[in-house]
């Protein structure tokens, strides 16, 4: 059974048990399978059920999502390497507030606070303010005062939003590519590249004989009676 089929049977199995979704037409089941298939990650049936429940719910209103997107684009403006939309940052934040409920009040309240501030300062909502006006506002809340222990609410709100936006971006496909991370593929580790060793003033020379040589890693290991590797 391939993975997609496995997921399909898991979903249908839990449907049959009435655990997952009580009234669900076949059409919707297929949608569900597609949605889970988008997220290919090993879940237990209970975890799958929980994630499916969260994916089905909607916390933020459309206007809030619009504000989150606008804020996210101010925090990480689009570049040729990647955008907030490509990184699915708004979808990620929508999921996280359901997965970790303490985020809800800070984010929803913070968005309200932004509108309140803009109404008072500029006589219009955050989204309808000009970009210079928006930036003037962010300048007030984007720099925590390192001398004080308890930051103001609006500073905490922006820090949380910034954390979620930046982590959402750099855990996305475009973000990881932009960062330059090149692992998560089968590899034969044979130490730090020479030029980097040299730049940092290190060398393996003194103790190189201790380490493994990837070239003969597939030969069966054999030892003498003293624990010396002989093949």
């Amino acid at each position: 059974m391939d993975r997609r089929e496995s997921i399909r049977s898991l979903v249908l199995g839990s449907l049959a048990g009435g655990i997952l979704l009580e009234s669900c037409t076949n059409g919707k089941t297929e949608e569900l399978v597609d949605k889970i298939w988008e997220y290919q990650y090993g879940r237990t049936p209970q975890e799958l059920e929980f994630d499916q429940k969260l994916l089905k719910e909607q916390f933020f209103e459309a206007s809030e999502i619009e504000m989150i997107t606008a804020l996210a684009e101010l925090i990480l403006p689009p570049t040729p390497q990647g955008t907030i939309q490509q990184a699915k940052v708004p979808e990620f934040i929508e999921f996280m507030v359901k997965d970790y409920e303490p985020f809800q009040i800070t984010l929803r309240g913070g968005l309200m606070w932004l509108n309140h501030y803009c109404n008072r300062a500029y006589g219009t909502t955050f989204l309808n303010s000009t970009e210079p006006q928006q930036k003037l506002l962010l300048d007030q809340i984007a720099y925590p005062d390192l001398e004080v222990k308890d930051q103001k609410f609006e500073v905490n709100f922006f820090s949380l939003m910034r954390n979620l936006v930046v982590t959402g971006y750099f855990t996305s496909e475009v973000g990881i590519k932009e960062l330059g991370y090149v692992g998560n593929i089968p590899n034969l580790w044979n130490g730090v590249p020479d030029d980097i060793m040299e730049k940092h003033g290190f060398s393996y020379d003194d103790w190189a004989d201790k380490f493994h040589d990837p070239a003969n890693s597939s030969e069966l290991a054999k030892w003498d009676n003293d624990g010396n590797l002989i093949s």
Binding site: Y41, T79, R162, V166, H212
Partner: protein, 571 residues
């Protein structure tokens, strides 16, 4: 509701499928015995693509790897945590113990750090050195042949160093250190701290044709689908089944108690099938408990009968006592020379490539037991949390912290891989007054009385933690790093709560005197001769080492003895 009698008769029932239960399964089934393995969690095979998390990217999950559903992040391969739904535990007098359980075939072996250290000659006789605690009734020479066999069966990399209390074994070659580990080495050696290649149960070279060789993805905590790291399922239980052993697995089955008869023999176990929530009786000639030190204590204490009113094997009153965990405290450091790194694939093995075994003599110090140092860092795969406080390190460069805009992108790249973490993991002193016991006020979702814990650190551990932090700062300073945050300078000196290091040992300690111990030196209950314990319960002291390799060596030794006793018809 009636107890349902299972018709099968077994030679041995093994409760738990982690390191100890897995090894007992392998050795006893290879000897031709008919085995039932009873595991509280579901079946798990690291190869199964449905449950596999290895190789997954953060964007393949809607939470990007966050730890909201699994405490070490959702890709970590432990179905469990310090809190389990429906399985509570309590505390006595406001003391603290965090109890980690992993409910799945293979238990915690599916996600652990694979740090596999032999106890040395001094570790078995530590009372001789400092007068505290108790000596083991056995010594290194009793266990050495089994460590050797475990090395060859499971596979471990390391280097021969000739250190007296860090015995060498049959090692595969270790991987070369990563960049941050070389910084650590430079700083540590300047302070006279020993640094050697780590010793992890990961195959850098083939040891048989059934298991794959490491491909350096750095994800051992996700459990390897090539079987290139040790987990109890892939290395012990599946091979036992494949070599023709008679091994039946009872998964999702929580053992409530060991049953006994009027001849002072165990007859089997009672367990609850979590799926149908019914109670079953399973019969065998011998019961091996390997449910984890605290779970085994719980089962024994819940196995009350007329003949054993305080629980099975508890005539000494010591079941649950002398519970101890490793000490632990950590410190991070920013290394300005490691900013703006050139990226290359530095995943390496799933864990540290270098570490520091205990390098001092406690007679010159104000605390009795040692610790080892682990080191973390590198160009790891981004995961939820990457980019939090993206430029907080600006503080150390005299630059402004915070802001927004494309500068943040550059900050994330600039600082990536420039932070090193040091972790001290040490030996605590086993105390009678640190214990778990049955809490008569609470049952779990299966109606089984739960544990409550009483555990307090002493000045032995606090002074050790203070020494760890002093050492960390010196090493960090030596390699040109800047220690992050403030050094804990009072209270518990940053000691993590007991249980946090997940090395629970000592609840059914071994000894020659039945008044002072629960099992004999072969891990057989003094009180009932057909019950054995092969988790870390029988540990007398834990050393400044991770317990897994010793659990397996001792489980093998205990299983050999069990087979011999069966042959002699002594059980």
């Amino acid at each position: 509701m009636q107890i349902i009698e299972q018709p099968e008769q077994y030679d041995v029932i093994i409760v738990g499928s982690g390191a100890g239960g897995g090894m007992s399964t392998k050795i006893l089934s290879d000897a031709g015995l008919k085995i039932a393995v009873v595991e509280a969690g579901p079946y798990f095979d690291p190869k199964d693509p449905v449950t596999q998390t290895q190789w997954k990217w953060p964007w393949q999950s809607p939470r990007r790897g966050a730890g909201t559903t699994r405490v070490f992040g959702e890709y970590d391969m432990a179905y469990g945590g310090w809190e389990l739904e429906g399985e509570p535990y309590n505390h006595v007098n406001g003391t603290n113990f965090s109890w980690f359980r992993s409910r799945m075939l293979g238990g915690r072996t599916n996600h652990w750090g694979r740090i596999s250290l032999r106890f040395g000659p001094r570790d078995f006789k530590v009372k001789d050195k400092d007068g505290l605690g108790e000596n083991w009734p056995i010594g290194y020479q009793d266990v050495k042949p089994y460590y050797d066999k475990v090395d060859k069966l499971i596979g471990i990399f390391g280097s021969k160093e000739g250190l007296e209390n860090e015995p060498d074994g049959f090692f595969l070659p270790p991987p070369k250190p990563r960049l941050h580990e070389l910084y650590y080495k430079k700083g540590a050696e300047k302070s006279g701290v020993t640094v050697i290649p780590s010793r992890l149960s990961i195959l850098t070279k083939r040891i048989n044709n059934e298991r794959g060789v490491c491909v350096y993805c750095g994800q051992c905590e996700r459990s390897c689908n090539l079987y290139a790291d040790f987990s109890s399922g892939s290395c012990l239980i599946f091979p036992a089944q494949k070599s023709g052993g008679q091994v039946n697995l009872y998964v999702n089955s929580m053992v409530r108690e060991v049953t006994t008869d009027s001849n002072n023999k165990a007859t089997g176990v009672l367990y609850i099938n979590k799926e149908d929530r019914k109670e079953y009786a399973l019969k065998a000639k011998v019961v091996v408990l390997a449910a984890s030190a605290c779970s085994t204590a719980r089962i024994l204490l819940n196995s009350k009968s007329e003949r054993h009113p305080n629980g099975l094997g508890n005539s000494s009153g010591l079941v649950g006592h002398y519970l101890h965990d490793s000490t632990g405290t950590d410190r991070g450091a920013f290394v300005p020379q490691m900013m703006n790194r050139k990226f290359y694939n530095e995943d390496g093995v799933g864990g540290l490539h270098l570490y520091s075994p205990w390098w001092l003599d406690n007679k010159n110090l104000d605390f009795p037991r040692g610790y080892h140092i682990e080191v973390w860092g590198g160009l790891r795969m981004p995961v939820y949390g990457t980019g939090f406080n993206p430029n907080s390190l600006n503080e150390y460069l005299g630059l402004r912290v915070g802001g927004y805009g494309n500068g943040l992108r550059e900050d994330v790249k600039r600082f990536y891989g420039s932070v090193i973490g040091l972790s001290g993991r040490g030996e605590s002193v086993a105390m009678r007054n640190n214990y778990c016991e049955i809490d008569p006020t609470t049952v779990d979702a299966y109606g089984i009385p739960v544990l409550r814990f009483h555990y307090e650190w002493s000045d032995h551990e606090r002074k050790q933690a203070k020494h760890m932090h002093d050492t960390f700062e010196e090493i960090i300073d030596n390699f040109g790093g800047i220690a992050l945050g403030k050094k804990p300078s009072s209270g518990d000196f940053g000691l993590l709560p007991p249980g946090a290091i997940i090395h629970e040992v000592g609840t059914t300690r071994m000894g020659s005197d039945p008044k002072e111990s629960v099992t004999n030196p072969y891990q057989q209950l003094h009180d009932v001769d057909n019950v054995f314990i092969t988790d870390a319960g029988p540990f007398v002291s834990q050393a400044d080492k991770n317990p897994t390799w010793t659990i397996m060596a001792l489980a093998w030794r205990s299983s050999d003895y069990l087979i011999d006793q069966l042959k002699k018809q002594n059980l």
